[in-house]
Structures are given as C-alpha cells and as structure tokens.
Symmetry: C2
DNA sequence: CTGTTAGCGCTTTCAC
DNA sequence: GTGAAAGCGCTAACAG
C-alpha cells in the first residue's frame, strides 16, 4: 500500500507551511496568487487528495448522511433513495445506504452504526421500530426526517403520503363506475400505511352510503402471490364481488391473475385497483388503475427538509404530506359504463 | 446541539484513564473484570458511542465502502446493491451509495469524493468512463471490484456476466422452435454489454447456419419505448421476421406491445425474448422468455471478492464470470411446435 | 499574506 | 492491569 500523501508532503514539496496548503484546498482568499499556484502544482504533482476523515475530526462535520430503508430492491424505496441521493449530491453530501431487511434488530443496529459514523443527518423510511425504541434510537442523531412514519410526542420531521386520500379517490372512482360490491386486499396487518389506506377505504365507503363489510377486508402479503391468494379466496367466498381494491400494485397484479384464472372478465366482471404506480402497473394486462405515489419526489422533499435542519434554517420539525394522484387505466371501467 | 460525549467523559465518570475505556470498548482482555464493569456502566450511563471518525484517523481504517451505480432505481442495479450491502453489513462495513446518472463527469466526481471519504474498497458497476480515465480514477483506490466492465491492461478484479452465452442460449432456443427470421433489438450502441450480447447473437446465428443480417440488428433505447419503436420499424420493414431478440426485458415488453399492435399473434407469428429476468418479465402477457442474470448474486460475489482484497488474502486480481440461465415462458413457442 | 501552536477523539507504544 | 505520551491529518485561532 503506497503511503497516502498528506498535507505535510504537499507543503514540503511546495516549500510552504501546511497551513498554506490547507488554505489553498479550502479556497481561502488569503493566499497570494503566486503561492497558490505553486501549491496547486504540488497538489497536482503528488496527486494529493485531502483526508475527509482528518478534516471531519477537525471540523466536526462529516458531510455524510444515512438513508435507511427496509429493502433497496423494492422499487418503492429505490426511487426514494434516488431522490435523496440526487439532492444530497448537489449539496456535496455522501449517503450511507442501509437495508433493514424488515428486521427491527437490524434497524437498531444500523442506526447505531450510523451514529458512530457521525452522519449529520438521517432519513429513515418506513421504520419497523415501535415508538419507544425509535425515539430512543433517534435521540442521539443530530437531524432526522422520517418517511411514511410519524412519531407522536417527540418532535421529529416527517414526509408522509396521504394514503387516506388515495384510498378515497380510488373508492370514489370505483363507485362512480357503478360498482357496489367492493373488497379490500389490505396488505400486511402490522403496516402503518395499511391503517391509513384502510381508513380511507372505510370513510369513502361510508360517504357513498355503502355498508362497511369487514369480512371483505382481507390481509395479505404485499406481493403478487399474496394478492393471488387473497383474491382467489375472496372471489370464491363472495362471488358477487365486483371490485377489488388492493394494498399495492403487486397485490393488484396477483388479483388480476387470480380473477382471470377464475374466469372473471376484467374489468367487466371485476374491477381491480392498485396503489403506488410502479412501472409494472402500466405494463400488465389490463393496465392497472392505481394511485401514483411520487416516490422520487418523496426522497427529494425529505432531503430538502433534512438539509434545512442540518443548516438550522428551520429547527422546528415539519410535517409534509404529499397527495397521491389517481391514475385511471383499463383495469377499471370508465364511469360512463 | 448537546455536546457529544467523548471517551474522556466516560473515563472521568468511571474514574479511570481514557486508555482503559478504549480497552473496554475494543474488547481488549487486559482489563480486570471489576474495572471493565465500572467502565461499561459509565458508558451506558452516558450513552457513550465511540467516534468512528476519530477511530478511523487513529487506525487508518474506515470500515466504509463505496458502491457506484448508474441508477439505483433500475432494478438491475438495486438488486446488486442489495447483495453488496447484505454482505457488507455482515462484515461490519457501511456502504456509500452513489449514482452516476450515466454522466461520466459525475462518475469521476463521486470516485474522487469516495477517495476523500477514505473508503477501503470500491464496487463500480457498469462504468461509463473510458479505459484511461477509469484506470486513473481507480489508481488511488486501495481495492476495487468492477461489475459488468473489464479494464484490459491494469489488474483490476471484475465480476462479469456471460452475456455472450446468454445470447447464444436464447438464439438456440428460438432456432430449435423453428424460427429462421430473427432480428435483434440491440440496445444502446455505446454499451459494453450490448457488444457482448451481439457477439453471442452473431456466433449463434452462424452456428445455426443462418446468414448474418446486419440490417436486422437495430439499436434502441434500453426502455419500453425504445423497444416499441424499434420493433414497429423492424416488423414493418421486414414482415417476414418471426422472432425478436431483445437487449433486455424492458425492450422486450415494448416489442411485445408493438407486435400486438401490428396484429401479430404472440408467439405464433412473432416470438419475443428479453434479457435479465426482472420481476416484470413473468408478469406481462404473454410472460417473457428471457435469460436470468443473478443480480443479487453478482453483488454478493463482488463484495466477497472485494473483501478478500481488503484483507489481502488474495492480492492478485480475479475475474469471475457468472453464467446467466435460460428461462422459458410463453413469449416463445415450445421446441415441439 | 503566511506560519505557529493547539487541539478534534481516538489508538499505539511504551512505562510502571 | 493500568496510565502517560505521542501522533493520525487536518483546521481554528492567533501571531507576525
């Protein structure tokens, strides 16, 4: 390993003190043009690159952030990460990406390791920690923005999706299309976003003077397989069902497949809606009516908020709620029908 | 900002020297059980967390890695990142994730910033830099593993996919199914992996005694839209085409759509194949025959290789080639047909 | 404009 | 077993 070239090497090479070199690399103006050039030449000659570590220790700033997600390979989160990283790059920050793999222990562990790494800020998506543990784990972090999760008492900023609104838009659309026998493939029972979506579903049902039918709300894994299974069961038990609202697009694709396998015509016999609008949604047959969640934008907003906190512009916590948008495709009949 | 608690605070609290605290947090055995417990109590009391920055400066180890991809929101790369991060986590490393957004300038810039951050290793996917720039940019990095990219002269390890084999498997499958009029939607002309795939295509064509027909090799954007456009053009110009081999699954989905729009039956009139086997491939109509690239595995292998280099177990560079696997679905006729 | 002196919070080395 | 001293590579604060 060729020993790293340090500021002292550059200083010697240029015949100045290391302080002058420091000034040059930091763009301080208090350096004469002549020496600046000499130092710069030495830097180039030696291929010197300042040590971020030493710098961070001296300045107490790391220009480093942590982003924690359950699983980057999930397009929902990878889009968020992209948005965060894009803004972070522009602000000259590097981001540590950590996957929790849905494991609370691991989530705590990465939160601790990010603390040791001295991240200046943290963006935490869909935390699986309970309020108490989460609060504790964030206590030592200088700045945090939560995505898709709120913390009640303590003052932590968050960027949220208005899932309740989304569910309502979807139900209204379905009801306007003449459907009366809705069912809800509700996703994992522990999920916070499920609660929001389910609440929107119930409220919209009530607003449309339709009876709540708890039996037609069915938990399922948030996957194609989960959707298939739940849809098959529901359609068999309640053949009169004419619309399946799904937790997310993957579940909806499963529902699509199950309905087709049972000989139901789509959307004439059964309408299906998804949620999120991942790339897949537009590409299945029939294309999915869904509710678009602007994931990249979520990441961007979260990062901008974090940026403000880091810079103390707005030390007071903020709650940003982002409205999702109805996207009508062929898996639901048009209202005219 | 509540001042960070340092090793000195813990030492004072426990009534020992900071050296003893250091020993405790590093699990050194040369500490009596009694003082160890007293120190541990102080650590817990104060919620002390050692500064990774200070540690890194003293030890010259950061336990930090860099992963550079064109775009995390592309499932191809997010799966790789997941594999890398999984192994890195187990090895107690944190990873900086950087997107180049396909911009060589930005790629250079993140490579430099990772250098300043003192990453101990680097995994670089599908670099868009030319050999010279790439070589230069890696020169100061202590350990690097390339994915989907080779560097000729200098000794840099790489994990590669045998795209040529994959293309050959696909062509053989198509030819066995009785198709003779193949065309190739070849993807972006600058891409290295396109070169490999195209070479496999040509060789397999020759092996099957089919004439090379350069006009039926068409560049296209690596997206659904790109595939639609190219397929529409090819099928219009050469109505006799009975099989479309596509650069990747997205292009294939576009081809599927274009063929259907032109009234072609799938796969009876036109067979279509993809590449990669992203989730989408199994879910479109008809499901895509494709070639599975084990992306998570790519990430895992790359990280294991990097790990070896970091630990000097194997300082000599290695080239790992991973074979893709034919996945037959309904977008191609069965060989019996 | 430039250099000197102190740290940043930890580990390494060597005494005791 | 424990501690004192020095230093990792840089910047802050002051001197000249």
């Amino acid at each position: 390993m060729p020993k790293r070239v340090t500021i002292a090497d550059v200083a010697a090479h240029a015949g100045v003190s290391h302080m002058t070199v420091s000034r040059v690399i930091n763009g301080a103006n208090a350096v004469s043009e002549g020496t600046r050039q000499r130092v710069q030449a030495a830097i180039d000659d030696l291929g010197y690159r300042p040590s971020g570590i030493a710098r961070s220790l001296a300045t107490q700033r790391t220009r480093t952030l942590g982003v924690v997600v359950p699983d980057v390979s999930n397009p929902f989160f990878s889009d968020i990460v992209l948005g965060v990283e894009h803004v972070a790059y522009a602000a000259n920050y590097n981001v540590f990406l950590c996957n929790t793999e849905e494991d609370p222990e691991r989530e705590l562990s990465v939160l601790h390791s990010l603390e040791e790494k001295q991240v200046e800020g943290l963006i935490l998506c869909s935390s699986r920690l309970d309020d108490k543990d989460l609060d504790l784990a964030l206590r030592n972090h200088p700045a945090t923005v939560l995505i898709n999760r709120r913390l009640p008492q303590p003052d932590v900023s968050a960027v949220l999706v208005d899932y309740e609104l989304g569910a309502r838009l979807l139900v209204e659309h379905i009801v306007q299309a003449g459907r009366r026998n809705l069912a809800f493939l509700a996703g994992p029972s522990a999920s916070q976003s499920r609660v929001w979506r389910e609440s929107g579903y119930s409220k919209a049902l009530a607003a449309a003077d339709l009876p709540p039918r708890p039996a037609r709300v069915r938990s399922c894994a948030p996957s194609v397989a989960g959707g298939q299974e739940a849809a098959r069961a529901l359609l068999s038990e309640y053949p009169e069902i004419d619309a399946l609202l799904c937790y997310n697009d993957l579940v909806a694709v499963g529902a699509l497949q199950a309905a087709a396998a049972l000989g139901r015509r789509l959307p004439d016999d059964v309408a299906v809606t998804g949620f999120d609008d991942i790339a897949l949604a537009a590409l299945v047959t029939p294309p999915l009516t869904t509710c678009r969640v602007p994931r990249y934008e979520l990441g961007v907003q979260a990062m901008k908020l974090l940026w403000q906190h880091i810079n103390g512009d707005s030390s007071s916590p903020a709650l940003i709620t982002i409205p999702p948008e109805l996207v009508i495709r062929a898996s639901t009949p048009s209202p005219a029908t």
